[in-house]
Point group: C2
Chain length 154, copies 2
DNA sequence: TTTTGTGCAAACAATTTGCATGAGA
DNA sequence: TCTCATGCAAATTGTTTGCACAAAA
């Protein structure tokens, strides 16, 4: 199931740095790079378990760090108290719509956000490097059956 | 040093809920409501220490929760692994420019961001409630003397 | 005097680290 | 073989909770 393309990119990254290409690294990379997205470390270990792999938690975290270092995966913090990881896409900037009822995450894009940031930041003598936009609300399916959310984003 | 206005609003909040108005609550509220902003729980205890107060950490956290519940203070998560708190302002939406060199935080506003969000979100059947925009980069004073950042925002 | 808070220490959850052993190059 | 990874458990960090004692209403 490995997308040969990204899988190979991770191998190349490891080889480049003279880091051993271990089976656990490949399995975790395969899992994460082909995941729909937004997995926590716990999600990763759970999914590994489903596939019959029982890697140490430390190994999972260390491999996640490697994947982030390779640029193939990006780390996200939705303010839940833990981190999530998702495959890096070529898409320049995608933003997140998080449903406070079901927790689902939808994405959207708009180049204008970037323009606004660049202009506003520069006006304050600030040179922007990266940015993140998080939106909380309710998704279509959850609308009409409201239920308390957990953490606030504001 | 208490801004009588906000200090009284917190007292009113407590009274309204029949919660005791204790000295530690007033001191912490005074500190936070008159702070320049973005204090962590640790910052708060440190500043309390400077003023000769030695409140338990738990008390600090519990009072922060109360202040957030009162709406006088808002909780922020900049992905540092802990939370920060700042006095709530009337200003509808202010966004943060964080300098990756010195950590300073500048704010900016732009109503257009909100419009873009509303439109993009609705197009996906999502009704936005709140949003946050974080920007990382370098501030004017740090430009020219670059140095590594810590945590990534992306 | 009854309720709720406070301080301390223990409990927690996510993540990191140290170290003996085991697998890649 | 030599280096680096793995797995486990212990350590850390930020935050929460339980409980005996103390202060507000």
């Amino acid at each position: 199931m490995a997308d040969a393309d990204v899988g190979d990119r991770f191998r190349a990254f490891l080889r480049e740095r003279n880091l051993p290409i271990t089976s656990q690294r490949l399995v975790i990379a395969d899992l994460l790079l082909n995941a729909p997205g937004h997995l926590s470390a716990e999600d990763v270990t759970a999914q590994l378990g489903e596939k019959g792999h029982k890697f140490g938690l430390a190994t999972v975290y260390r491999t996640l760090d490697l994947l982030v270092a390779s640029g193939l995966v990006v780390e996200r913090d939705f303010g839940e108290g833990f981190r999530r990881y998702e495959p890096a896409r070529e898409v320049p900037h995608h933003y997140h719509l998080t449903c406070t009822v079901c927790g689902s995450v939808t994405e959207f894009f708009d180049e204008r956000v970037e323009d606004i940031i660049r202009i506003s930041a520069r006006a304050r003598g600030f040179v922007p490097a990266k940015h993140r936009l998080l939106v909380q609300g309710t998704c279509r399916t959850c609308r009409g059956a409201p239920h308390g959310s957990t953490r606030s984003v504001s």
